[in-house]
Amino acid sequence: MKTSILNIVKFKNYFLISSILIFFSCEKVVDINLNEKDPQIVIEGNINDQAGPYFVKLSQTVNYDQTNEFPEISGAFVLINDNYGNLDTLFETVNPGIYATKFLQGENERTYTLKVVTNGKEYLSTSTIHSPVQIDTLTIENQSLPMGNKKVINVEFQDVAGKTNYYRFIKIVNNVVQPTIYLAEDLTQDGEKLKVSLIDKKSEDVNIKSKDTITIVLESIDENVHAYFKSLLKLNSGGMINQSSTPTNPISNINNNALGYFNACSLTTKTIILP
């Protein structure tokens, strides 16, 4: 399973170093004088093949030393349309900065365009909903991983033959969405039955245990969205291996230097309760 192998490779480098260094290294919090920058817009747009409404969130960056409160952008003009002439202007909900669709319904194999106008600037993005892929089975496996033995969820599903498919998984444990971004693509196994292990990468991920209710969402995403999440994952997976590589902002599918993404996808879910 290609994706899985590549992911473990990155892991291994990290643990390879940490194995050696754990005996010598030490950490401390330091003060770094960082430049202040003008706020930049962050757009998070989602539409899928499930029933609406769909939401678009507009916020801003803050300076690094500020608390994690990100100013929302109110009063923007937000519009989503598809390539069949359907068009929906979003309204701002009671939560400032969060805009919702009124009637638009996401359909498979349609391409959607998001348009945001605020502060005299226009931001555009397009994304396509591909056909949904059903999860066949979810299994639990004990895996011996670099960070120790862990219970890992394996997702099995049938890949769509004849084209490159990109997948994103969301793991929900006892109704809590887990932070790790799990991605897969079918590079070597087009049209085959795929089995992907969802290995946690963030320390905040909870370890799964008996009696947990676990829901897996399988999103069939498009190439650009996959590229966005892949680069976000790379940036945010942390670890010493990144210490010297040059970090860059994730590759957004929105123009005009906006941060964030617009994801049009189909999704399916499956839930199990651990024995």
């Binding site: 399973m1 290609k2 899985s4 192998i5 590549l6 473990i8 490779v9 291994k12 390879l16 194995s19 260094l21 754990i22 005996f23 030490c26 950490e27 401390k28 919090v29 330091v30 960082l34 430049n35 920058k37 706020p39 962050v42 998070e44 801003q60 960056t61 690094y64 608390t67 994690n68 011996s144 960070m147 120790g148 033995n149 969405v177 932070p179 971004i181 070597t188 196994q189 089995k195 992907v196 292990s197 999440f229 892949k230 680069s231 976000l232 940036l235 945010n236 010493m240 291996i241 210490q243 010297s244 590589s245 040059t246 970090p247 860059t248 902002n249 994730p250 590759i251 941060l259 964030g260």
Partner: protein, 775 residues
């Protein structure tokens, strides 16, 4: 390949240097009297007239042609007693010089009348030789004496990071250094993520570093040439040498094959760092395997006075295993066969057949699937060099070099339930041919110079699909080329020129210009270098990297050559430099070239070097003031930005003091400006995560780095047959918390905040090594 140019050249030279009837040639080898090892770079000079003479080549050979007469000739080399001989030259004469290592090699008492003044008279600038004796005394991390860490203490050379053997030369990238071990390219010179170099100092005879102004014999990298020559082995008697250290142990055996005619040396080293893991409380940690080993072997045999053959090889590997089936291993293998032939006392020839290989393989098991990833680069290399010494003033070098590169970027094999899937990224093939010639002129007056040209022909070859990309990195077109079909040719002429203008017996001014081109490029997102970094050849998308460097230097010796001082300034202009698109995926990517962005670079600086070579107290101070910048389309709005290896200040002080014959104390202190890095200028929230927001490339600095290391060598009683010593060292003696990395993350105690966390690797790392030698 054979160009008529050479024959024309030879012919012209014959005319130019028509010899008078009464001239004869004195030639031979300079050797160590104890073990028969030839000495590289020894000077064989006439007492009168001054400056007439020769320097031994890489095989210890020299040749001087002089008018008939009586001469007093001296052979000298640092650390050896000078040998003086009176000869009566009335026919061609073969004369070897046997030098013995100075017993009091660092004593103030000087045996020869004249001190050695190589750095004044040598034409080469931007060049440094490492004394293997210094390497023994200089304290290093974990007590493993290390060539690469020692050269980092020279001006113009800087370390890639804490405890790391990787290095930058004059603001160039780490992949712009050509590292040759017995002429074979070493593609990855580090073990254990860079904390050790692959060169076992016990097996090394000579190390020379050229900072971009090497002669035209060498090419292929922009920044530097590190020429490492292995020992040939003792051709007089069997010797055993070794050491036991905390991290690794080593053993070397050498001896004659046929006494005075041939010898061998085999040296091996194995680390046991993973034993420390056994101390861990964590069971997963205890099961880990983590080690490296090296094997150097060399044999040589003198068939007769005019022919000699050498066979040398290196094999090293790093192994990391996590459990049974998961692991990664990587390593280099090189092999060199050489044939030295003397066509006459004036024409020395060397023919080399060289093989080098670097590969890694990763094994993994996941969800019941076995997977393996393999990547490899291989060179098949033929090199023919001639050195022609027509008279005492001129030396000509010329030859050709042909390298076939085969690169396997990545093969991914996966065993699923029903079948084995294999994903093959196109293999890459390339042929690099080069012709060179170089003329060195030493007048007995004030001026000496050397100029040369290197003609490099590079061809990227099929089979495979070759793509062209638009400015966004999307595929425009794809063409399939058959096996051996030429995809792209590049031809480059690389002129080199060095001039030495002698001001007086104590000082000289030197100037050098050199163009270098590079056709192999390392795709790497990290500074320290990962074993999985990928080399790619120039192609239809990637043009050869080009550098032009001018440098000017002033060299001055003081106190009868006890002190050497030099200062050099350089300016380097770089073309076709590589960087990567944001979020580039370089590994296992058929379209990796689409991720590359191109631009230019410039690097300039001032280097100061003061060395005390003799006496109980010796050592050096090296200081570099420099700047290195890149300008790449698509990065930093197309403006110049600091290369990550940009270091404003870099200072190294090395001091070695021999208290008594038994006790030697040494210390090094380094101080340098932190690397240029990219830190976040803000943050935002997306997908439920706090994400850093980056603006300017390399717009920040890591904190300033400084560190003191102390070493003590305790020489035990030495007898005819045996000697031993203990080395103690303390790395980072005053425990400075130097930043290895700074990570920006959520505050674990307060989720509403973020923080910068600095990781420090090594504070107070003590080590102890026991060295022994059976003679």
């Amino acid at each position: 390949m054979k160009s008529p140019l050479f024959f024309i050249l030879l012919f012209l030279l014959q005319i130019q240097f028509v010899e008078a009837q009464n001239k004869y040639t004195l030639s031979g080898y300079v050797k160590n009297t104890n073990n028969g090892e030839e000495i590289i770079g020894a000077k064989v000079f006439l007492k009168e007239p001054f400056f007439v003479g020769a320097v031994t080549n890489a095989y210890g050979f020299y040749s001087i042609t002089l008018p008939e007469g009586e001469y007093t000739i001296s052979a000298q080399y640092f650390g050896y007693d000078t040998k003086i001989l009176k000869i009566n030259l009335k026919q061609n004469l073969k004369q070897d010089f046997l030098l013995s290592e100075s017993i009091n090699q660092l004593e103030e008492v000087e045996i020869s009348a004249k001190r050695k003044d190589e750095n004044i008279t040598n034409i080469q600038m931007g060049m440094a030789k490492i004394n293997m004796q210094d390497i023994k005394n200089i304290p290093v991390l974990f007590g493993e004496k290390d060539i690469l860490k020692t050269i980092q203490l020279l001006p113009g050379v800087s370390s890639t990071g804490e405890g790391n053997s990787g290095f930058y030369v004059r603001g160039g990238n780490a992949d712009q250094n050509l590292i040759l071990l017995d002429e074979a390219t070493v593609y990855n010179a580090s073990h254990l993520m860079g904390f050790f170099s692959v060169f076992n100092a016990d097996a090394i005879k000579d190390v020379s570093l050229y900072k971009g102004s090497q002669t035209s014999e060498y090419g292929g990298r922009l920044s530097s040439l590190l020429d490492i020559r292995m020992k040939d082995g003792n051709d007089k008697k069997i010797g055993i040498e070794g050491g036991l250290g905390l991290i690794a142990s080593r053993l070397a055996v050498e001896g004659p094959i046929v006494k005075n005619k041939g010898s061998f040396i085999i040296s091996a080293r194995r680390s046991y760092a993973d034993l420390f893991l056994k101390l861990s409380k964590d069971s997963a940690m205890r099961e880990r395997k983590l080690y490296f080993y090296d094997l150097n072997a060399k044999a040589n045999y003198r068939i007769n006075t005019n022919n000699r053959i050498f066979l040398s090889g290196y094999f090293g590997k790093d192994v990391f295993k996590f459990g049974d089936k998961i692991g990664i291993d990587w390593g280099n293998a090189t092999g060199t066969f050489r044939w030295n032939h003397l066509f006459s006392a004036k024409v020395f020839s060397n023919t080399s057949l060289i093989f080098s290989n670097y590969d890694y393989s990763i094994n993994t098991v996941l969800a019941g699937t076995n997977g393996e990833i393999i990547s490899r680069i291989q060179d098949y290399n033929f090199k023919q060099d001639f050195q022609y010494y027509p008279n005492s003033k001129n030396k000509l070098s010329f030859g050709l070099n042909s390298i076939y590169h085969k690169i396997i970027p990545g093969v991914i094999k996966e065993e699923s339930d029903s079948s084995i899937n294999e994903l093959n990224i196109n293999y890459k093939h390339a042929l690099n041919n080069a012709l060179y010639f170089s003329h060195q002129f030493n007048s007995n007056k004030l001026i000496s110079f050397e100029y040369g040209f290197r003609f490099s022909f590079f061809s990227t070859l099929g089979p495979g699909n070759f793509y062209s990309y638009n400015s966004l990195g999307e595929i425009n077109d794809s063409t399939y080329y058959r096996k051996g079909e030429i995809v792209q040719n590049y031809f480059n002429i690389e002129p080199r020129f060095s001039l030495n203008f002698l001001l007086n017996e104590k000082s000289s001014v030197k100037f050098a210009y050199g163009r270098n081109t590079q056709n192999l490029h390392l795709l790497s997102n990290s500074t320290s270098g990962n074993p999985t970094d990928l080399w790619i050849p120039s192609s239809n998308n990637v043009k050869p990297e080009i550098s032009d460097q001018v440098s000017l230097g002033y060299f001055r010796n003081f106190k009868n050559n006890t002190f050497e001082f030099s200062t050099e300034i350089y300016y380097k202009y770089l073309q076709n430099q590589l960087d990567y698109r944001d979020g580039a995926e370089l590994r296992f990517n058929e379209y990796a070239e689409a991720q590359i962005l191109f631009g230019i670079g410039r690097a300039y600086g001032l280097e100061l070097f003061l060395k005390k070579k003799y006496g109980k107290f010796n050592g050096w101070i090296g200081y570099t003031l420099s700047k290195s910048e890149k300008k790449i389309n698509g990065i930093n709005n197309g403006e110049y930005y600091n290369a990550k290896q940009d270091r404003t200040h870099d200072l190294s002080i090395v001091a070695i003091y021999e208290f008594t014959k038994k006790w030697t104390v040494s210390a090094t202190w380094v101080y340098y400006t932190g690397n240029a890095v990219t830190f976040p200028s803000g943050k935002y929230e997306v997908a439920g995560q706090i994400v850093n927001y980056y603006t300017e490339r390399n717009g920040y600095r890591m904190p300033t780095y400084h560190r003191l290391d102390i070493g003590v060598t305790w020489q035990r009683k030495t007898t005819e047959k045996f000697e031993s010593s203990w080395s103690f060292s303390l790395y980072n003696a005053y425990g400075k918390e130097n930043a290895y990395s700074i990570t920006f993350q959520e505050d674990p105690t307060d989720a509403t905040k973020t923080q910068a966390v600095q990781t420090t690797l090594f504070r107070w790392v003590p080590s102890i090594t026991y060295n022994f030698k059976f003679k």
